[in-house]
């Protein structure tokens, strides 16, 4: 059989119906492009969260009250009172794998300076908190242990708080702000850290001595958490074990009993986070999958209709001597050209759209498998539904195909 002629026939048929070919292609382009960009968004946010958490240092350890299981009535971690200053003190005394450590308490509320006010969170910590979290004081200085000891009304503020309270650019150092009616003196301003991937503003905070927050703001004696850093990354696991043992013995928890606290490393947080992101990616993949199916059905429709409406043409070709395989080959070539060209354009568009989305701030990561998957699904659907109706039509009597309406 002369395939050259059949390829010529197919190309001629395509050229004669540019609009139809283009519309069919459009279905494939949109299908492929939307799946690629959808998965790129999922992949991108996951990757950037990983990077972000990783960059925060994987030697950070956090202790929070409450147990890790879903037994009994669960209370919100901050309202639990299982962590005491004594726990912090015994860790400081006994632990050997901990470099820096601070008790933490925090409160949310409105901070006021003159006519300006803004809602923010106040973190009660000791000076070691800066090193653990990687904050840097840009101007002024951090409060010291003496301030902690005396529960002095001093604080260090983040850039967001500064811009909210001092819109005219006054020097915030030495100014008195009010947090829940408590006047506090600003002794330092933190260097900006910007937003994290979860969209949280890391500059929207006030840091104050934990004693101040405990006594003057919350009026509590317990602490809400302990944040520490291991002496180095490799010792994180050992540090966790150590802290767990100290707390267990402090709390009188026997082997087999549930802990009334949680010790988690940054590493674990990262894993939790990325499992959340995995879920999100699965969700996005589902959406992508649905759009792939919808796209596939669209392609199916267009292909099916455009071949079905050409039943007359098929009948005519058969009446002048085309064999079934000639017809099939012609339509196969047409479908391959349309589907593959559409698929390639779709990949280009999808990658382009992902890049554009990235330019607008949402991180995207185009993954190889998404290109492969969407391309394969769309082109295979296109080819199959370009070929299958042609196959059916070519099995008709020529005259029945010609008469087809």
């Amino acid at each position: 059989m002369d395939y050259r002629n059949l390829i010529k026939i197919a190309i001629k048929a395509l050229a004669n119906n540019k609009m139809r070919g283009f519309l069919t292609m459009l279905g494939i382009i949109i299908g492929v492009a939307s799946v690629i960009s959808m998965l790129a968004i999922g992949g991108g946010s996951k990757q950037s969260i990983r990077e972000e958490i990783g960059s925060m240092g994987s030697n950070m350890i956090m202790v929070s009250p409450g147990n890790g299981r879903f037994g009994g009535v669960r209370q919100s971690a901050s309202s639990m009172q299982t962590l005491k200053m004594a726990d912090y003190e015994s860790i400081v005394r006994e632990a050997s794998y901990i470099a820096k450590i601070t008790p933490t308490v925090n409160a949310s509320g409105q901070v006021i300076k003159g006519a300006n006010n803004t809602p923010t969170t106040i973190y009660g910590v000791n000076p070691e908190y800066l090193d653990i979290r990687g904050y840097v004081v840009e101007s002024g200085s951090m409060f010291d242990d003496n301030d902690v000891k005396h529960a002095n009304k001093v604080c260090v503020v983040g850039k967001t708080v500064v811009t909210e309270l001092f819109p005219n650019g006054e020097d915030p150092l030495g100014q008195i702000i009010r947090y829940n009616k408590i006047p506090m003196k600003i002794v330092g301003v933190l260097q900006s850290k910007g937003y994290n991937t979860m969209g949280m503003d890391q500059d929207d905070l006030i840091i104050a001595p934990y004693t101040t927050v405990q006594k003057r703001i919350l009026a509590i004696t317990y602490i809400q958490g302990i944040t520490a850093s291991a002496i180095s990354e490799e010792y994180t696991d050992k540090a966790i074990d150590e802290m767990t043992q100290i707390l267990q013995s402090n709390h009188g928890i026997k082997i087999g009993q549930d802990n009334d606290f949680n010790v988690r490393s940054q590493q674990e947080m990262m894993e939790t986070m990325s499992s959340v992101m995995d879920l999100l990616t699965v969700l996005l993949a589902c959406v992508a999958g649905i759009s792939l199916i919808v796209g596939g059905i669209g392609i199916m429709n267009i292909m099916y209709v455009s071949v079905t409406e050409r039943t007359r043409e098929i009948g005519l070709r058969m009446s002048i001597g085309a064999k079934e395989r000639h017809i099939l080959f012609q339509f196969l070539i047409e479908a391959v050209i349309i589907s593959v060209a559409g698929g390639i354009i779709g990949v280009v568009v999808g990658v382009g759209v992902s890049k554009i989305i990235a330019m607008f701030g949402t991180p995207t990561l185009v993954q190889g498998y998404s290109i492969l998957l969407s391309f394969a699904v769309c082109t295979i659907t296109g080819i199959f539904f370009g070929w299958y109706p042609a196959k059916k039509a070519s099995q008709l009597n020529p005259i029945d195909a010609i008469r087809y309406e």
Partner: protein, 249 residues
Amino acid sequence: MSEIIKIENLKREFVVGDEVVRALRGLSFTINQGEFVTIMGTSGSGKSTLLNILGCLDVATSGEYYLDGVSVKDISKNDRATLRNRKIGFIFQSYNLLPKTTSIENVELPLMYNREVSTSERYKRAVAALEAVGLSDRLKHKSNQLSGGQQQRVAIARALVNNPVMILADEATGNLDTRTSYEVLTLFQNLHNEGKTIVFVTHNPELAQFSSRTITLRDGHIINDIQNNRIVSAKDVLATMPKEDEQSV
């Protein structure tokens, strides 16, 4: 003379809803090679149905059709396609040209499915066929840029281009003015003289005089089958026609 077409008790029924339309109710006849047969009959008498079966485009509900001595039932689908491609030139009542396609491409089409014909030969033969039907000045016109009569002539050219042994024409002159239809008839008579078998369906009783035999159908039956020993030459008639009649169609 050898038999090229032989049908025996040929029936064709169409099921429409729960009604059965009996288009052909048992036809039998034989056509020898080189005959020029006119098939006449009123509208709906079954002429197109018969011709479609003779052209291997349709199959009979019952009865036998021997083409060149072979029962068409026993010919495979592929071989029937080859038959249509090499041996039969079929002219449809409704032309059936490929839309959006030029005259020359439409005429080339049967040869596209014949790999023995090279590209240059295909083009040459298509041009020759279009010249034969007087359309050499319309090679690049698309189907929708041609008049009905011109489309009909493209369809005729397409049927002739594969140099078939048998030409089946369904109302091939139905849309042509008198002069052009005589020109086409002259063409058919020339082909007949070359030894080709022609089956020519028409409404027009005047055209019977140009063929060697006339079969008349009514309601799916043959009611008349007569030989014509005094074939009138269409060319001669054409010569007697005043030139002024010539008009573009």
